[in-house]
Every structure is written in structure tokens, then in C-alpha cells.
């Protein structure tokens, strides 16, 4: 039937027998023109917005690009910078009234902005500590790396501490021994003593060890084998080193505390629940700056008379407590988002509370909370700038100090841009990593 049909069709004059070549699409429907029509000028208001935005971008760039690119690097003071600029204007290289950046301040104060007053012959130590820290984070961040590297992760905090503050190696060693003791008790005493007793002993014995045995033992060992490097006082820390040390310690320490608080807030035990709620709400209700002043002014009141300890340690404690309350709320959200069936499933398998949390609940809840946790971390890292108000010289504190110097009196934007850029790079890469992790861990809804 179709053959007959096609035969008649072939005989009919008005039926085309050969195909035309494919035509290229009209200019307006392909390539960049199509893209612009769709994305920039799809309607009149859209077109106006595009033109306005382009104008804003042009205006900003035209003012900033020259200032940025022509910046003077080889100058020891602001007056020198201006002299160089005036010279070039006089020689006709630049037009009249050109303003240029004076990046000389960064070259001049580079060490201070990065390390503060850390002894300059010991700069290798913080650098090594940061490298070590990154190497220790790597196996946590990327699970394609060999698992053996996790040993480095466990050792790194003590090594970093030792590298940064120096002194005898035996003190961080003894602190690490305390953790080892706790681990050994859980590992080997759980079966003979029962898990509850072993857990209690794993908490109490290391505490006793640190309080009474660690100090004398470390001193004795130092006397026998004085292995150590020059010790550096906390007051000498400054610049980005300070921000990174406070930020990193806060992040690492606040995570376990945050998980504990979140579990406490979800707990059925009335007193533990209420205590967690009060702690979290009080910490979250008051700004960090007030807590920092509390650490500076009031902590002494609440400790036995005569105790006095390092301001930096106080700040790290406060930042950790502050951040842990926020992380607890994020993780609580993750715990609440889990379907009830997960809890009931764990119960029906006969798991006890800690087993259920460790094997079933927390892995899922933490996965859900990753974006929130990372944004808490980013917030914590940005908040380290607040220590400037209690007299510590973080990058912003140094920018004020540099301006107070007659050489650089009146320099603003170059320092602000540098500091802002450094923070941006750190925070932006953290947020990108969390997005990568979110995609990688998204095992549902495939």
C-alpha cells in the first residue's frame, strides 16, 4: 500500500524529490547572539538592567583597575610612594591626578601581617606547623588517601602545639599519653570490667593522670633527656598566625563538644536536657564580643585566687564554647531531620544508646548537617578578628598598628584589601569544600 502511495507520489509533479541542504540557523537564533538575547536582553526591563549593571561594573573597574595595577611595590613609606608617583606624573608616564595603590606597605610589613612578633629566625616553625596541619587534615578531607595517614592526624595536634609554642617536648608528649591511656582502657578493659566501668575509668584515670602525674613526669623527663626547642610566648603571636591558630583550635575542639551538647539537648534525661538547653541558649543569646570581654575581665573571678593563665588560652576556650553552642544547634537540626524509623530500627537491632548513636544516628545526622557545620566554622574563623578588642594583634589589629607608624600614616585600602582577600580565600575554599562534600555524600535521591 505504501509502495503504491510512494509511486504515485513520485509521479506527481509537486512533490519534491531531493532534499535541500541543511541551512545554518539565523544569526539571531544561534551562537553568542542567541545567548545574549536569551540571557541579557530577553525583555525591555531586562535589557535596562543589563545595561545598568554593565555600567556599574565599568564604572568600578575603570576607577580601580589602574589604581590596582599601577601600584608601587618598592617603597619604604607612604611619602616615598607619593614621591615616586609624582615623579612618574612629572615625567609624563601617568596623567595628572593619577592615584595608585601603595603596595609597598605589604612588602614592608609582610612578616608582621603574617606572623606578628614571632621571632623571625623561627618562622620555619609556624610554616612547618601549618604544613603538618594541612597534611593531617588531608586524610579526613579526602578519603581516597591511604588510611595509614590517620596516624599523622592523631599525632599532629601535639606536634603543632610543640612547634608553635616550643619548650620541652615532654609536656605535649604527656598530654598525648593521657589520651593513649584512655584509649587503652576502653580497648583492653571493656571485656573484663564491663563497658560502663571501663568508660568511667577511661574518663577518670586520664584526668587524674593529667592533674597529678603528667606535670612531674614531664619535668623529670626533661631533666633526664632535655629534648626541646626555644619556647615562644603567646604574646608574640600575631597577624594571620593568630587568626589561624585560634580558628583551627576552635574548630577542632568545638566539634566534639557540639556533638555532646546536641545529644544532651535531644536526650530524654530531664536534667541533662535542661542543662544543655540553658547552656546553648545563654551562649547563643550573648554576642561573642561580650564573651571575650568576660574571658579577659571576669574569668579570674571564677578561678581559685591567684590562678592566672594565658590570655590566648582563655580566648581559645571562649571561642570553643561559643562555637560549640552553634554547632550543637546545627547537629540538633540533623538529628531531628532523621526519620523516627532509624531510631526504632536501631532499638529493634538491640543496640544500646551509644552503639545506636555511633553506628546509625550520628553518621546520618552529621552528613545532613555538613553545610551548617561548615558555615559555623567559617563564622568562627571570621570571628577570630574580634580578638583585636581585647588587645591581641590579629591582622586588623596590625593594620591599626601599621597606620599608627609615621611611615605609613594614612594608608587604608591596601591593607584592607590584602586582609579581606586572605579571609576570602580561606572562607570561600571552605564553603566550596563543603559543597563538594555534600555532593559526594548525597547517596539518596539518585
Amino acid at each position: 500500500m505504501s509502495e503504491i502511495h510512494s509511486e504515485t507520489a513520485l509521479q506527481t509533479a509537486y512533490v519534491r524529490r531531493e532534499m535541500l541542504d541543511q541551512q545554518t540557523p539565523p544569526v539571531t537564533a544561534a551562537g553568542p547572539v542567541k545567548w545574549m538575547r536569551e540571557n541579557l536582553f530577553s525583555s525591555i526591563p531586562n535589557g535596562i538592567m543589563t545595561v545598568l549593571s554593565l555600567f556599574v561594573i565599568y564604572y568600578i573597574l575603570s576607577h580601580l583597575l589602574g589604581w590596582f595595577a599601577n601600584g608601587i611595590w618598592d617603597a619604604g613609606s607612604l611619602t616615598e610612594c607619593r614621591a615616586i608617583r609624582d615623579e612618574r606624573i612629572a615625567s609624563g608616564v601617568w596623567s595628572e591626578g593619577t592615584e595608585v595603590a601603595c603596595w609597598g606597605v605589604l612588602a614592608d610589613r609582610w612578616d608582621q601581617l603574617l606572623f606578628g612578633f614571632y621571632p623571625s629566625d623561627l618562622y620555619w616553625r609556624p610554616i612547618l606547623a601549618v604544613v603538618l596541619f594541612l597534611a593531617a587534615m588531608a586524610p579526613i578531607l579526602y578519603d581516597s588517601l591511604p588510611r595509614k595517614l590517620l596516624i599523622l592526624t592523631l599525632v599532629a595536634p601535639f606536634l603543632c602545639f610543640w612547634l608553635l609554642w616550643g619548650g620541652s617536648i615532654w609536656y605535649p608528649y604527656m598530654v598525648a599519653m593521657g589520651f593513649l591511656l584512655g584509649w587503652a582502657i576502653i580497648k583492653f578493659a571493656s571485656v573484663p570490667l564491663g563497658s560502663l566501668v571501663a568508660n568511667l575509668a577511661a574518663i577518670v584515670l586520664p584526668l587524674l593522670f593529667w592533674l597529678f602525674a603528667a606535670g612531674p613526669l614531664a619535668s623529670a623527663l626533661t631533666d633526664i633527656a632535655p629534648i626541646g626547642i626555644r619556647s615562644v610566648n603567646s604574646r608574640e603571636f600575631g597577624g594571620f598566625l593568630l587568626a589561624v591558630v585560634i580558628g583551627a583550635s576552635g574548630i577542632i575542639l568545638s566539634m566534639p563538644l557540639g556533638i555532646a551538647l546536641a545529644l544532651g539537648r535531644q536526650s530524654d534525661l530531664f536534667i541533662i536536657n535542661k542543662c544543655s538547653v540553658i547552656f546553648i541558649e545563654v551562649i547563643r543569646g550573648v554576642p561573642l564580643i561580650v564573651w571575650l570581654f568576660t574571658a579577659q575581665l571576669l574569668l579570674g573571678y571564677f578561678l581559685p585566687p591567684g590562678t592566672n593563665f594565658d590570655l590566648m588560652l582563655r580566648v581559645i576556650i571562649m571561642v570553643t564554647l561559643f562555637s560549640s553552642a552553634y554547632i550543637a544547634e546545627v547537629i540538633r537540626g540533623g538529628l531531628a531531620a532523621l526519620p523516627r524509623g532509624q531510631y526504632e530500627g536501631a532499638d529493634s537491632l538491640g543496640l544500646n544508646y551509644w552503639q545506636a548513636m555511633q553506628l546509625i544516628i550520628l553518621p546520618q545526622a552529621l552528613k545532613i548537617s555538613i553545610p551548617g557545620i561548615v558555615s559555623s566554622f567559617i563564622g568562627l574563623f571570621k570571628d577570630t578578628t574580634l580578638v583585636v578588642f581585647i588587645g591581641m594583634l590579629d591582622p586588623i589589629g596590625f593594620s591599626n598598628a601599621i597606620r599608627a607608624d609615621t611611615d605609613w600614616n594614612g594608608i587604608y585600602w591596601e591593607l584592607f584589601i590584602f586582609i579581606g582577600l586572605c579571609f576570602f580565600i580561606c572562607c570561600f575554599s571552605m564553603s566550596r569544600y563543603s559543597q563538594y562534600l555534600e555532593r559526594k555524600l548525597a547517596t539518596d535521591h539518585r
Binding site: E38, N39, L40, S42, N46, M49, T50, S53, L54, V56, I57, L196, D268, L269, F270, I271, I272, C275, E281, V282, R284, G285, V286, P287, L288, I289, V290, F293, T294, L297, L298, G300, Y301, F302, L303, P304, P305, I378, K382, D383, T385, L386, V388, F389, I396, Y412, W413, F416, I419, G420, F423, F424, C427, F428, S431
Partner: protein, 429 residues
Amino acid sequence: MAIMTDPPAQAFRLSQLIYDTRYRSITIQVVAFILIMAGLFWLVNNAIENLAVLGKDFDFGFLGSRAGYDINQRLIEYTNNSTHGRAAVVGILNTLLVAFLGCITATFLGVIAGILRLSKNWVVGRLMTVYVEGFRNIPLLLWIIVIFAVMTESMPQPSDFRGDNPSATMILGDSVAVTNRGVYIPNVVFTRSLGGNEMSAATDGVPAAIIPAVSVGDWALFLAVLIAGVVGSVAIGRWGKAKQERTGVRPVGLFWMRAAVILVPAAIVLIALGATLDYPRLQGFNFDGGIQLRNSLIALWFALSLYTGAFIAEIVRAGIMSVSKGQTEASAALGMRASWTMNLVILPQALRVIIPPLISQFLNLTKNSSLAIAVGYMDARSTLGGITINQTGRELEGMLLLGLFYLATSLIISGVMNVYNSSVKLKER
């Protein structure tokens, strides 16, 4: 055949406290309670001992003594002869002022940026991404200092406005002057004030307050009329909606009726009180008249708004994206216009997702206003928690009051917002 028997009644053994799940939770709680109480007792005991060593007592009497310091930006009458208590109130009002202004502008900026970031326009979308990422990833403190530096370093001096050919001019029809000493805006003055004109209330040789002493009675009357108008407008709205649902016909001119109920009485009150605008004028080396918004307030306000606005933009974007595309398509299938789709379908659903994080952003903004210390804005932390503490040496009491103030503010804001949140929440069975 099974015979159910009760398990043999056993005598209570001490080990049951640990191994029996019925008693274990009680044991844990009692132990935790004892530990926490012991810890608290230890802290309080240390504090008492330390106070005794320092020869101090715990007393709030310092709030009644003379403050002796000036506050340059204030909403209520205050001189250096006022008490520390009043200084604290001035500071608290300043905190609330900047938090209030900041919340409004941040919401405004955030909603616009959030919607524009979803725009199909490529340039606009990228521009908003740069704004959001830039402000989210750089510390707020830096932004406050940068904006403050822009205001003090790059703006013209008041003397630049002088002469026949000034290098700087006032904007918005000669009513607003942006200078490096602050922004001068017109002030509303009541010529037929209820309580006498208090404009010239200068005391003790201190120049008239930067924000001039306002005649409280007049503003209270105006505000009362305005609130009554809003209540009336809401009532008319309810009536109109009820009528529409009953008869299917929406009353004609409902919007104009609602607007008139608010605006007409308020305008009548303003005219009756003889409200006029007091423009800032150049006098000598500085501006006189109007209201001076100090650079510290401007920098703090702008930085807080821009910073929080970036976070709100992300919240708004996530909220709108959380409404499934099917909703838009369904409303289009029903023949709704784009604006109806947005107002009646998308936004009500998006708001449920947007409101809870928005509340926490408002709280963050209020708490972040304590960064006022960076630019010398006299907020609660600078007066009560700063100068007062330094002058009286009452760290414990001052910090306690300051902490309680922030805590109370946070709890009140989150309480009010939670009530609203539960009213728009999805009604589930």
C-alpha cells in the same frame, strides 16, 4: 500451654542502680546534677573569695551615681551629670536603634539580591553572586572599618560646601549633606507642639543634643494615630475579604480605602501640630539644624545591613527554590498571571522556609551590633559594658547586666518571631 506468671519479686539490689535500665537514667541524672551543682558552687565560692580578696562587694548601687561622661549620639536627654543607669539606657536605645534600622534595610537588600540572583539575566545574576560571596566570606569587622574609613576619608569636609563655587553640594534638593563628620538630614519640627517647643534644650553649655531633644508628646500622639490607622486598615481588609468570600465580589477601591484610613488621620495630626522640616544649614565651619547621623552610626548601619543582607539573600533564594516547579506550572495552568503566581502561590510557601532562618539572622544582626566598639558608636556595650565598667570597676555587675540585656533581647525577638512562624506554619495532622 503457657502460664503467665509474674517474675518473682526480687529485693532491690544496689547494683540495679547501674545495670537496670529502669534505674540507670535516674542514677545518671542524679550524678550529673551533683556534679553540676558542685561545679557551680565551686565557681560562686571562688568569686566570693576573690571579691573578698579585692575588697569589693556585689552591689548595683553604682547605677544611681553620676556618670560623668558624654555620649555623642543619643535618643533621649542625657548629660554627663546623668546617672550610670541612664547612660546604660541611652546605650541600650542606641543598640536597639541600629538593630532596628539594620533589620529593615538588610531584609530589603536581602530580598532584592536573593530574587535578582535567581534572575535569568546573566550579568545581574553574576553581580549578585559577587555581592553575596564577597560579604559572606569577609569578616563583618573589616566591612565596618572599611565603610567607616570611606565615610571619614573620602567624603567632603563641611567647609567644602562653602563659597560661591563649592566643591561639594548637598543632595536631594539641598536637604541632605554627606560630609566626613556625618550625614545631615532634615528634622521634623512641630511649631504648634503640645508640650512647648523643646528644640533649644541645651543644658550645661553642652550644645543641643546631636539628635535634638524631641517633643515626646507630639510623637506619641502621631504614633498612636498611625497605629490606630493600621488597626483600622487591617479591619477593613478583613471586612473586604469576608465580603468577597460571601458574595464573590471584591469591594471596589478596597486598597485606596485601606491606604486612606492610615494616611489621612496621620496627615491631619501632622498639619494640626504644625510639622515643618528643619533643614541642615551651613553655619560657620559646620552644619546646623537637622539631624546629624554620625559616621559611626552610618558605618555600623550600612555594614550590618550589607553583611546580613548577603545572608538573607541566600535564605530567600533557597526559600524560592524550595517551592517545586510544579506549583508554578499548576498556577499557570489555572490561568493565573505571573504576579498572582508569585503572591498567592510561591511566596506563601516560600515564606515557611524563609522565616525561621530569617529570625536567626535578625538575632545575629542585633548581636553583631556590639561591634560598634570598632567605630566608637555608643551602644550598650560601650556605655554599660565599657566606660561605666572602667569608671566604677564593677566588671562583674556590669557584664552581668549587659549579658542579661542581650539575652533578653534575643529571647524576646525569637519568641515574637516564633509566634509568627507558628501562624504561617504548614497545618499538619
